[in-house]
């Protein structure tokens, strides 16, 4: 069902909040990743504010959808979305990566309820998602498993073991969302270790493949809703994103993969995001 214009505006404002939260957290931390969290802000906003069946007050609710972040280094986007969704106070974002924080540099399930897994070592999220989807099938659980993976972690062998296994067990309760931003630490994914033809690889592994603009919230939600209708096989949503989306001096620049903004850069970024917020409101 198409979203109302009002709803789309609301979600865009949320994504803007999430991006501002990321910039503030990274500035406070003084280290961390910028590009991935920013480009996945629309996807995480869509998940936490529209798609997921969840309750921020009950992160251990047995019937919740499981959202696994496989590429743990983009944790700031998950933390920011969780904070705005009500899992913890927004101010706690400023503790990112500091001693004693629940917001570890890479997420830990035992420290922050709701994160579902401990992640950071790449290529492991889909495999754990397969286990959870099998448990849901075994217990006839009403919930789904969503895994967010990066494109570059498709260079890890374990991820392909998980792709084989998900197809074998026909896990139609499993949706893998790929952040296809085409960058990794050392450069373009296509230079470092080419992934194309990417969609064809999933098709060859008996997955149902969807592609969309991962920075268009309405398009992403519509795509996930179509993926939810698939029966008898797992689905992948290849979300084409622009690295660093929302902060123009970071956009498309792989050097922002693994570093935070300094104070000056953060101020420019926040001013830009503030202006974007005004535009969203003006166009509503």
């Amino acid at each position: 069902m198409a979203l109302s214009l009002e709803r789309v505006t609301e979600l865009k404002l949320r994504a803007n909040d999430v991006r501002q939260g990321i910039i503030r957290a990274l500035l406070s931390a003084g280290s961390g990743h910028s590009a991935g969290p920013l480009d996945m802000s629309d996807v995480f906003t869509a998940l936490y504010f529209h798609i997921l069946r969840h309750d921020p007050k009950r992160p251990d609710w047995p019937d919740r959808d499981r959202l696994l972040l496989s590429c743990g280094h983009i944790a700031p986007v998950r933390y920011s979305a969780m904070a705005y969704a009500g899992y913890f106070p927004v101010e706690e974002l400023l503790t990112l990566r500091k001693f004693g924080t629940r917001l570890q540099g890479h997420p830990e399930r035992l420290r922050l309820p709701g994160t579902e897994t401990t992640s950071g070592p790449l290529g492991e999220g889909l495999a754990q998602g397969v286990g959870m989807a099998l448990a849901a099938k075994a217990d006839a659980g009403p919930w789904r498993v969503y895994v967010v993976t990066s494109d570059a972690e498709h260079q890890c062998g374990l991820h392909w073991e998980a792709m084989l296994t998900a197809a074998k067990f026909k896990l139609d309760n499993l949706i893998n969302v790929v952040d296809r931003n085409v960058i990794q630490i050392d450069g373009s994914t296509e230079d470092v270790m080419p992934l194309e033809p990417f969609a064809e690889k999933y098709r060859a592994f008996n997955w149902e493949v969807f592609e969309c603009d991962g920075n268009d919230i309405a398009a992403f939600i519509d795509t996930v809703e179509r993926a939810q209708q698939v029966r008898g096989k797992p689905s992948v949503v290849i979300a084409h994103t622009l690295a660093g989306k929302g902060v123009t001096f970071m956009e498309g620049d792989y050097t922002w993969h693994g570093k935070p903004p300094n104070k000056e850069q953060a101020e420019v970024a926040l001013r830009e995001l503030g202006a974007e917020r005004e535009r969203i409101l003006a166009n509503a």
């Binding site: 579902e116 897994t117 495999a127 286990g131 998980a162």
Partner: protein, 318 residues
């Protein structure tokens, strides 16, 4: 007791029997195998509990990761392959997904040690105890015979926590009975003596008992033999008591002497009760093809080697 009449059964059979029973007692017990269901003895579970069993092919990292997902949803997965690959190939997944993330996954490491025999060095896991015991939260259990392996399988299934169970391929003597008490983390004294303590684990506990008997006849020394089946968390009290009562220790394991059970014993003694210690195990080398008994002898884990180590340890007492 130590006659050659003893019944010989591979420890892996104990695992297979224990797993079937664990799966009956609790339907949340899951079996996952990486293409070795017959040789790891998971086949019986597959037949008895097909709805609790997953076959995933030759993918050992997947074993751990998928089991972590199942465990996070309340299942109790046992993952089986050869110890060389499980946990040999999946160490980082074990650390991150099982231990740091604290999931209730149980690793069944089959065909451990040089006693896997003709398959050769690529398939002889002799570093697995070291790489598992160094990980926080991991429990490491190396039972001494098939009967004890069955008990360990059942107990680990019922006790929450990431765990590694190590067992072997070859037939080995049954030295305990159904009635012999068995508790995780509680070492067992199988023979009393106060001249030397022989602390062993796995199928070599039998060799340790043989060596102790021969030492009594040949040298007139009485050795305490301790079955130190739970390498982690280790029964420190039992180890300290053995060292205090006997004054010297020999450790015996089918594993590298660096980093294994013997090292764990040495860590305890060095910190709390320094005593002469000699290590019986593989000494910084790889195995090769051969008969299991022949390899045990060649790599210095036979009865004669244990006796030599015992004599060296006793000499160092004064």
């Amino acid at each position: 007791m130590l006659s050659t009449e003893l019944k010989q059964v591979p420890t892996r059979n104990g695992f297979g029997e224990g797993l079937i029973e664990a799966g009956t007692r609790d339907r949340n017990v899951i079996g996952i195998c990486a293409d070795l269901s017959e040789s790891t003895r998971m086949e019986g579970f597959k037949k008895a509990h097909p709805e609790q069993y997953y076959e995933i092919g030759v993918s050992e990292q997947m074993l751990v990761a998928m089991a972590g997902g199942l465990a996070a949803c309340g299942k109790i997965p046992w993952i089986a392959s050869y110890a060389m690959f499980n946990p040999g190939r999946s160490w980082e997944q074990v650390r991150t997904i099982m231990a740091l993330n604290e999931t209730n996954v149980k690793i069944a490491g089959a065909h451990a040690g040089v006693s896997v025999g003709p398959d050769g060095a690529t398939h002889q896991a002799i570093e697995d105890i070291a790489i598992m015991r160094v990980i926080p939260h991991m429990r490491v259990v190396v039972p001494c015979d098939a009967v004890q392996t069955k008990k360990a399988t059942l107990l680990l299934s019922e006790n929450w926590g990431p765990s590694y169970l190590r067992f072997g391929r070859e037939k080995s003597p049954i030295i305990t009975t159904e009635q012999t008490p068995f508790e995780l983390g509680k070492a067992q004294i199988f023979r009393e003596g106060s001249d030397l303590a022989i602390v062993a684990c796995g199928i070599l506990v039998y060799n340790a008992l043989l060596a102790a008997d021969e030492l009594a006849h040949e040298d007139g020394v009485e050795c305490r033999v301790v079955n130190n089946h739970t390498v982690k968390p280790m029964d420190e009290a039992a180890i300290l008591d053995a060292a205090r009562s006997c004054g010297a220790v020999v450790t015996v394991e089918e594993h590298q002497i660096h980093g294994g059970m013997g090292s764990a014993v040495a860590e305890v003694l060095a910190a709390k009760h320094p005593a002469p210690i000699e290590f019986v195990g593989v000494n910084d080398t790889f195995g090769q093809s051969g008969d299991p008994a022949e390899l045990i002898e060649y790599y210095g884990m036979g009865t004669a080697s244990i006796k030599e180590a015992a004599r060296r340890a006793i000499k160092r007492k004064h």
